[in-house]
């Protein structure tokens, strides 16, 4: 069992922008109807740097900044995990389109932004942090994988870890091969110990199960969103974090394993 404390939450997706305004949807206080994903607009980087950043970088940095600010922690020595199933597919589309032409002219900016750890790189530049950072993918289990990786870093290295999970809406023609219908990103500031600013305690257990396919959401539009983007597999956990009573969330992992999270406000 791994025990963590949540000290900040960031969210950007259809109808969601920031924990404060999104919380009511999760708590069932108002009906969730979806909407558009607002343009990410982190203020941590200069406008010049922001122009050079890819969409996924801006998406990830936007929610990372929200969680950081809510936690009140300094960002300049903060370990991070950036998890995304598919990374920046607009750049993938741009590169592969260019490489299909006889000249094969690749934009140097597109190439260096194409690395999966581009958001991690820009985040470390924005915060001046020399701390360790991981960037990973595990297809539809990417959120849970990121959560486990961040949990291991926080508990084994005894330090706060900022987890950021994001995927962008797939451009065509890639969308036919991998349908991701909307852009969505979530960030969690995770602490190894309780502190005055922690919002909830998470007790995380990994175990095989042949039972139910994991937690679902009551509101249909939210349940649809859960399938529309790998990062939105986080929604049941966010719903539990919005409650005022303790609850358990079961999230599908890989190989018939499930991650059980006991959420205690």
């Amino acid at each position: 069992m791994l025990t963590l404390y949540v000290a900040g939450i960031g969210i950007l997706g259809p109808g969601f922008d920031g924990w404060e305004t999104s919380r009511a949807f999760f708590a069932g206080e108002c009906v969730y109807k979806g909407g558009d994903t607002a343009e990410p607009r982190s203020t941590l980087l200069s406008p010049t740097k922001r122009r050079r950043m890819s969409y996924t970088t801006r998406l990830a940095v936007h929610v990372a900044q929200q969680a950081l600010e809510q936690s009140g922690l300094p960002g300049d020595d903060l370990a991070t995990v950036f998890a995304s199933s598919d990374g920046d597919t607009a750049i993938l589309h741009q590169l592969c389109s260019a490489l299909a032409l006889p000249e094969k002219t690749v934009s140097p900016t597109a190439f260096h932004n194409s690395v999966h750890n581009a958001p991690a790189g820009y985040w470390s530049i924005a915060t001046g942090s020399h701390a360790s950072s991981n960037s990973l993918s595990c297809y539809d289990a990417t959120f849970v994988t990121g959560l486990l990786d961040a949990a291991c870093q926080a508990t084994v290295e005894h330090r706060p870890v900022l987890l950021n999970v994001y995927d962008m809406k797939m451009p065509q023609p890639l969308h036919d091969a991998r349908p991701i219908d909307v852009s969505f990103a979530v960030a969690l500031m995770l602490l190894p110990q309780a502190s005055s600013n922690s919002l909830a305690r998470l007790d995380i257990e990994l175990r095989p199960s042949d039972k139910a396919p994991g937690s679902t959401l009551e509101q249909p539009a939210m349940e649809n969103l859960r399938y529309a983007n790998p990062a939105a597999r986080a929604l049941p956990l966010l719903a539990a974090l919005a409650r005022t009573h303790a609850s358990e969330v079961v999230l599908a992992y890989v190989n018939g394993n499930y991650v059980h999270v006991q959420v205690t406000p």
Binding site: F111, N117, A131, S133, N257
Partner: protein
């Protein structure tokens, strides 16, 4: 940290298939770099290409791509599958994690699909399986299926430090009790994206790359696949391990996306943290396997950082002139070379380098040298300023 035993390992690179072929190439000073003849690439550069990969296959058809072929070929070397079968019995498949580094996975399949788009609709071919080939997780998923493992799983993609970081991640998962043993590794294969991408940044050498050389002019890209089985000393079969992971150090440059920090702060922190994690003084390291890409800036900055931590005495070399820069597989291939160095008391030279850059002050070894090697530090630094240093040592 408590050491983790490396109880089996295997690799394929431009040096050949398996550890004996790799060791033989090292001993014979035989480079794997050749003028680029990959696909229809029209760049004047050398590559470290794995011969015969086109004739290989995969055990599960829908995963077929160059990268997964390379993964399977590497898994079939050096008795690795047999060692994993033993571990599977000992720990159960659910208790063995799979952590694989890659920078581009099977992106070649997406490149091909884009060359074969429907001229009318722009659609990609029906036969294209994005999930099982091109997605970053494909290689980890394929490895775990091929080995019948059911534990924690992830692909790590931090550019050129990817398959060094797998050691740190696996160690944390084991320490946290999420698995008892781990298969770690890295696989990256030649593709147009990286060849033309590095070319666009003017980082490709026109000659076989010459790390730390006065006339170095960039990298030679290589492809490679490598794996290791990690176990706790108390659980590993007696006498199985000859080398162990003693420490790891990770850092971020916080400087620039494609050029290293000018004072090498990230590189220095990674090395210092690896030593601290291992509980060792700099003097305990007998050999350093450099990141040593042969770009103008990397070699100079790595040298500056290294001298700040170790001074100028410790023998070091870059083996990129042998294998090429295997990007997301560089960490695991250089870990394997570090283990061969420890087992055979061999400090490999910096093969293709002729005249050392006078601005570089560390003790760069040019010719192979026999000397006692008990502990090695291996550096891997990636785009985005992602750094990882590993310390390995002799068991017993």
């Amino acid at each position: 940290m408590e050491p983790l035993y490396v109880t089996a390992y295997a690799a394929v690179s431009a040096l050949g298939r398996g550890t004996p072929a790799t060791l033989d190439a090292l001993r014979q000073s035989r480079s794997g770099l050749r003028p680029c003849d990959f696909e229809h690439v029209d760049l004047e550069t050398h590559v470290g290409r794995v011969q015969g990969l086109e004739a290989e296959g995969v055990a599960i058809a829908r995963y077929d791509c160059r990268n997964n072929r390379l993964a399977q070929l590497a898994l079939q070397q050096d008795g690795f599958e047999e060692a994993v079968a033993r571990a599977r019995e000992q720990y159960r498949p659910q208790r063995i994690g799979v952590f694989i580094g890659t920078s581009t996975s099977g992106i070649q399949e997406t490149e091909r699909a884009y060359r074969n788009r429907d001229p009318k609709t722009g659609a990609l071919p029906d036969t294209f399986s994005f999930r099982d080939t091109s997605n970053l997780a494909s290689v980890a998923d394929y490895v775990r299926r091929y080995l019948n493992l059911l534990g924690p799983l992830m692909s790590i993609s931090t550019a050129c430090s990817s398959s060094a970081k797998v050691f740190a991640v696996a160690r944390r998962f084991m320490h946290a009790g999420l698995c008892d043993a781990a298969v770690v590794g890295g696989v990256d294969s030649l593709c147009l994206s990286t060849l033309y991408g590095f070319n666009s940044l003017e980082l490709l050498s026109r000659q076989p790359c010459r790390p730390a050389d006065r006339q170095r002019d960039g990298i030679s890209i290589g492809e490679a696949g490598g794996f290791a089985l990690l176990e706790q000393p108390r659980a590993a079969p007696r006498g199985q391990a000859t080398v162990a992971l003693l420490g790891y150090g990770e850092s971020s440059d916080a400087h620039h996306m494609s050029s290293p920090h000018p004072e090498g702060i990230g590189a220095r922190l990674a090395m210092e943290r690896a030593l601290r994690c291992a509980g060792l003084e700099p003097a305990a390291i007998d050999y350093i396997n450099l990141h040593g890409t042969a770009t103008a800036s990397n070699d100079l900055i790595e040298d500056r950082a290294l001298c700040a931590v170790f001074g100028t005495g410790v023998p070091c070399s870059s083996t990129k002139g042998w294998t090429g820069h295997a990007l997301g597989a560089a960490g695991i291939i250089e870990a394997l070379i570090s283990w061969l160095s420890i087992q055979h008391d061999l400090v490999p030279g910096t093969l293709t380098t002729r005249e050392l850059d006078p601005a570089i002050n560390s003790n760069i070894v040019l010719q192979n040298r026999q000397q006692t090697v008990r502990r090695v530090l291996s550096n891997s630094f990636g785009f985005g300023g992602s750094n990882c240093s590993l310390v390995f040592g002799r068991v017993g």
